[in-house]
Every structure is written in C-alpha cells, then in structure tokens.
C-alpha cells in the first residue's frame, strides 16, 4: 500500500473549516450578539462604528435595489435581478476583500459592485441594454458579471492559480448561487482549486431558489457539504448575518493568502424578490415562506444590535435614509447620462486586432446606413 491514494489525509486538520453541518451565526435574527470562540477573532476590529458602516452599506444597497426595480417598472431598464434579502451575504463578504483581490460574480451581486466602487451609471448600463458591460474590471478588482450559470467559478480559480504562481498573496472570490452548484463548471472549479491549492474563496449564496426550483432539487443536503467531497473545507454560515459572513470570508481569505488553498462558504440566505423583474414568484412559492424569512431580515438585526449596544439608531436611520436618497437621485441622474450606443459600435471590440472579414462587414453596414437620413452616425 504505497500509493498516496491509500492514505487519506487527516480530514479534521483544518479545525472549524471542516464542519459544514454547523450553521455559524454571530448575530441572531432578533439582534443578539452570539459569541463564537473561533469566529469572533475575525471580527474583533468591528466596533460600533464599523457595524454602523455595515448597516449603512446594507441600507443603501437595499434602496439601490428598490430604485433599480422601480426604474425597470418605469421602462428605464430592460431587466433587473433584485438582490433584496441578500445584502448581508454580499456586503459581509465584499467588505472582507482587499483592493488587489478579485471578485468574479454572477448577475445579482450589485452590492459587491457597490462595495468595489462601481458607480451608478456603470451599474445600470447593462440592464438598460445600452452596453455589454458596465465597468473596467481592472479598475474595480471585479470581473464582468456572468450570466452563464457557474462559469465564473472556473475563471476565479484560474485567476487564483495565476496569482499563486506569481507569489502574490491576493485571492479570488467566486460568487454563485445554489442552482449553480449543479453545473459542471462549478464542480470542475472545485477540482482545479483543490489540485492547485488555488487561493480562491467559493462564496455560494444559497438563496433557496434557482428561479422556480427550490434548492432541494439541486442538493439533498447542505451545499457546504459539497466542498468536503473535493477535499475543500466547507463552511455553512447564516447569510443574513453580516458579521458572520464577514468573519468566515476573512478567515477563508486568510487561509488562501497563507497558501492553504480554497474554501467553500455556503451563505444561507433568501431572495426576497422575484428572480428578475420578468419573474412571477407567486407561481412557485407561498406567502408564509416569505414571511418567515422577513423575520430573519439582515438589516433589522443589525439595527437591533446597534440599538441594544446603545447606538443612536434614529440618527443612524436618518443618515441611512439621506445616503439612500442621494444614491437614488444619483441612479436617476445616471440613467439619463447613459447615452444610447452608436450604431456602428456593434462592431467594436469583437477582436482586439484587425479582422479582415469583420472590417469588410462593418464597411458594408456603414454604406447601408448611409443610405438613410443621418447615416451611420
């Protein structure tokens, strides 16, 4: 019995990280601070001010979401996938990132983009149908959002492999949903990440639904367990608890930076709104379910904790409302600032270098447009 496959490594060596069946929580739904000997140290710097900032973040992105949804209803946007309910999962994890880390997300991570400094116009551009993407990924350390379910998990893994080969201690974070865990790409990303000890954090927002499909159709057990099978520590955290999400993400990032490889975090949360503005969730889920999740609201519990800690919550909420109002105004202003694209820009950026066939096609189409008033311009 000489081959390595004969001797399973000690699966319990990573301590906390190997308990996917636990459900980590630092703030209860009613706002009590629970203490956890292993998690606490990752957020010991989070004082009242920091907590207040997280509350502000979440309040603002919730408003951002409401406003964008309204803009869609008013015909200003073609589509919007609301994040409502997932503020803690996104803010808690994104606030754990360093500038030189890189986030690879799906389409719903508006709060991550917000944290990464993406401005209102850049956030809305795509959803208005005015552009193929919103921002320069290298300016924000955040990739172009991904619509093909799960594909970005491999991109994050490749990026992380590269960072490691360079000796950098930067890490990648791959955001994806519960549904995505069924796609080959996500599983292959786990294979590659494990094999190459890639500094990547898989952040799965289990929001209970993939459009109309409940998470139970994708997996018969907690998704954090999936990682274990690939030799990757899986953590199950209350995704509506911004502090617990931040703590686990920091812990996982730290692990990545120390060269210890990937971690999988299942942030258990809930999509409060429709899948997108085109979806009608009444067709597949009931009001009671929604109501039970409303009691686990990610913002309300932080407010309660702040209140219990003696913070002036009214001032806090006033500030949040002001900031949110400003954001809403910015969004509306941004919409009008997004110019409709030039007709001939359809041909831009297909290739980085000249492509004879496409140039000819562009030229022909220019002539075609020139027949009409205004022409190609």
């Amino acid at each position: 019995m000489t081959t390595s496959a004969m001797t399973p490594p000690d699966r319990h060596a990573t301590g906390l990280l190997t308990k996917p069946d636990e459900f980590l929580q630092l703030i209860t739904p009613s706002g009590e601070r629970r203490h956890d000997s292993e998690l606490d140290r990752w957020v010991e710097d989070v004082d009242l001010d920091a907590l207040r900032a997280l509350h502000l973040d979440m309040s603002v992105v919730r408003r951002l979401d409401t406003e964008a949804t309204a803009l869609q209803r008013q015909g200003e946007l073609g589509l919007w996938p609301p994040l409502a309910g997932q503020e803690a999962a996104q803010i808690g994890s994104a606030r754990a990132l360093r500038d030189d880390d890189f986030a690879f997300t799906s389409y719903r991570e508006h709060a991550v983009a917000w944290v990464r400094g993406v401005g209102p116009a850049d956030l809305l551009r795509v959803w208005r149908g005015a552009a193929a993407s919103g921002w320069n990924p290298f300016e924000h350390g955040m990739a172009v959002p991904q619509i093909i379910i799960g594909a970005q998990a491999l991109h994050a893994t490749g990026w992380a492999m590269g960072a490691k080969w360079e000796g950098s201690d930067a890490a990648a974070v791959a955001y994806f949903g519960d549904g995505a865990t069924s796609e080959g790409d996500v599983n292959e990303a786990l294979v590659f990440a494990a094999s190459f000890d890639a500094p990547v954090v898989f952040l799965c927002q289990n929001n209970q639904w993939a459009i109309s499909e409940p998470v139970g159709l994708q997996s018969r057990q907690p998704l954090a367990r999936r990682a274990d099978g690939f030799g990757i520590p899986g953590i199950r955290v209350d995704g509506n608890d911004v502090l617990a999400v931040m703590a686990t993400t920091r812990m996982a990032l730290d692990r990545a930076r120390r060269g210890e490889g990937p971690t999988f975090i299942e942030a258990v949360t809930y999509r409060m709104g429709p899948h997108t503005t085109a979806d009608d969730p009444k067709r597949y889920r009931g009001e009671e379910e929604l109501a039970s999740w409303r009691e686990r609201d990610p913002i309300a519990r932080v407010r309660a904790l702040l209140e219990a800690s003696g913070a002036d919550v009214e001032a806090l909420e006033r500030e949040a409302a002001e900031r949110a109002d400003r954001m809403a105004a910015e969004l509306r202003a941004a919409i009008t600032s997004i110019a409709d694209p030039e007709p001939l820009s359809v041909f831009d950026h297909v290739y980085a270098e000249p492509h004879a066939h496409l140039e000819r096609q562009r030229e022909h189409y220019t002539r075609y447009l020139d027949q009409f008033e205004g022409g190609a311009r």
Binding site: G78, A132, G184, Q218, L344, Y368, D370
Partner: protein
C-alpha cells in the same frame, strides 16, 4: 380550427404527444411548476405528473445526458433548453452522444430526443438570450434540425419531432411566441406536411427569398412591401435546416434566377453559406446573379439597444433583394 399563439400551439402539441405516448417525458429547468420561463409547458406537470414533466437540476449536460440514458431505456425525452445561449454546456452530450449513438451502435440504439430551443433575438433581452446557434447543429451529422415559424406549423412540427426516431433540434422563434394563428387541433399527423419539407409561403417570380424562424414573417412583409415597387418575391420558409429541402428552393430559383437568404445568425459559415453554395451547385446555369446573404453580423449578440443594428429587418432584406436584382442598393458601385 382554433386561434392559438405559437407558444400555445407548442403547448397543445406537447400535450397531445404526452397524452398519446407514455414514453414521452419532458425534462428541463423550470418547466414543471413554473411551466417554463415562456410558459410553453404551462399546466403539463399538473396534468401528467412529475415523472412526465420533470424539473431538473440546473445543468444542461445533465439534462441532455440523462435524456440519452432515458432513450436507452426506451423513452422519448423532450428537453427544453431555457434560452439559446444556454445550450453550449450541453454541447458535448449533443454532438458526441445524441448525434452519434445511432451510428455508433450500428442502428441498435435510437435517440428519439427532441431538444427544444427558444432562439433568436428582437426581444430586448440580456446577453445569451437572443442567439441563433442553429448552424452548429446543422453541421453536425446525425441530428435533424428544424425551425417553426407560425402556430400551425409549431403544433404539427413539435409532434412530428417527438415522433421521429432521430434526434431533433427544435428551434422556436421566441419573439413570435405570442403571434396567433389558426391551428387545426384535430388534424392527423399522417396528413401533415413531412418534417423535412419547405413551404412556399408567398409566390413570386423575380427573386427567391429563403428564410426560417422569426424572419419568415419579416420576409412575408418584405414581399408585400416589394409589390409596391413592382418586385415579385417568392418567400420560402425552409422549416427544416437539416436536411434542407433544396429541391423546393432550387425549383423556385430555376424560375426566378435570383436568390436571397436571410437569417439572424452570423454570416460566416452559417446556413446562408450552405444554401448559397448548394443552390449554386444545382442552379448555376439559371442564376442571374450571385446569391445574396442578409444575416446578422459576425459579432457576439449585441446589447439590446443595438440589436436593431444587428438583426436583418425588412429594409435590410429589401436591400438584399435589390442587390440580387441588380437594382440600386447599399453596395452599388462597391467592388465585390
């Protein structure tokens, strides 16, 4: 005759196939409880049960691959791919398994799998929701590829596809889902036009215009518009993309001497190339001008606000017709 939308006709056709053969099973993402994002399978799970209309995990390779296993077991799986741009994760199972298993097994294993794909643009959608991937499949031996264009055809063709012992890629023109047409729900499949045959949907004498899917309506509109200009266009709805009914196209071109092909997919190595090449082979002596292709550009599908600058529309088709006829057109005076 009943007036049904194209989507409603598909729903009715699926219902009839499910009722008529208990080996027919539907598989896909969100097709059960939700009835599909386009509601094409609306009500079918309630009517036939969760083992006949199956919500699957989110994995296209998984859906197609398990459909192959079900076909091995004697089922006739009907798979829904939610949008055109999501078929690629299942590409290997389609090209290396579904298409090849009958050949590989020397005829022992049949793959009567229907893969339904809402395709094409014009609905202002996000990326990956407006693609036209039919050329990939028409190039793949072992597959049949069809595209319906109206409610009556949709109703019949979906049943024929399911009844076929070969795998069929079934393309549905999503932007026409809501267009109504008269459907004869009582008609027998035996009397219907076979799946591989094209339809001359408008007669004409000056130029033959071949298309399929959503552009059939646009082509008909173009034919009507051209009449005012004294140009008589014969419009052919190809219906089947593999095999193509080149006999019908060729006999039209032998009369008109001119051919225009329109599709939303990119031009390079697209269906238009095949039709142009095949018809040139068959009708070289009859052609009075080179076949003209009016297609989407060779670009990734653009953002919604630009799609009208990508998709062939009535004006671009008529410009192509002018080119075929040697009338003034956008490329007049341009060296070929």
């Amino acid at each position: 005759m009943t007036a049904l939308t194209l989507g409603g006709a598909l729903n009715a056709g699926l219902r009839r196939s499910l009722a008529g053969d208990d080996r027919v099973v539907l598989l896909g993402e969100d097709i059960g409880t939700l009835g599909g994002v386009f509601r094409i399978t609306d009500g079918l799970k309630a009517e036939f049960g969760a083992h006949r209309v199956v919500d699957t995990p989110l994995s296209e390779a998984g859906i197609i691959g398990t459909a192959v296993g079900l076909a091995y077991r004697g089922y006739r799986p009907v798979v829904e791919i939610q949008f055109d741009g999501f078929i690629y994760p299942g590409f290997d199972q389609i090209v290396a398994q579904v298409a090849k298993l009958h050949y590989r097994s020397r005829g022992n294993v049949r793959m009567p799998i229907t893969i339904r794909v809402p395709f094409g643009g014009g609905i202002g959608a996000a990326e990956h929701h407006s693609e036209s991937p039919e050329a990939y499949f028409a190039h793949t031996a072992g597959l049949r590829v069809v595209a319906c264009s109206d409610a009556a055809d949709a109703y019949v063709m979906i049943q024929q596809a399911i009844a076929s012992d070969d795998p069929v890629l079934f393309f549905e023109p999503k932007r026409r889902y809501h267009v109504k047409g008269e459907v004869d729900e009582s008609a027998s499949l035996a009397d219907a036009k076979p799946l591989g045959v094209a339809s001359v949907v408008a007669s004409g004498t000056d130029v033959t215009l071949v298309t399929y899917g959503a552009l059939v309506q646009t082509a008909r509109d173009a034919a009507i518009a051209a009449q005012d200009d004294g140009v008589s266009i014969e419009v052919i709805d190809l219906r089947s993309l593999s095999p193509m009914d080149l006999t019908t196209v060729a006999s039209s071109v032998r009369r008109t001497g001119r051919l225009v092909i329109a599709h939303e997919a990119g031009q390079q190595v697209g269906l238009g190339a095949e039709i142009a090449a095949s018809i040139t082979e068959r009708c070289f002596e009859f052609l009075e001008a080179a076949p003209v292709r009016v297609t989407g550009h060779d670009i990734p599908y653009p953002p919604a606000k630009l799609e009208r600058h990508h998709l062939p529309d009535l004006d671009r088709i008529l410009d192509g017709v002018d080119r075929a006829l040697g009338r003034p057109n956008s490329l007049s005076g341009v060296e070929a």
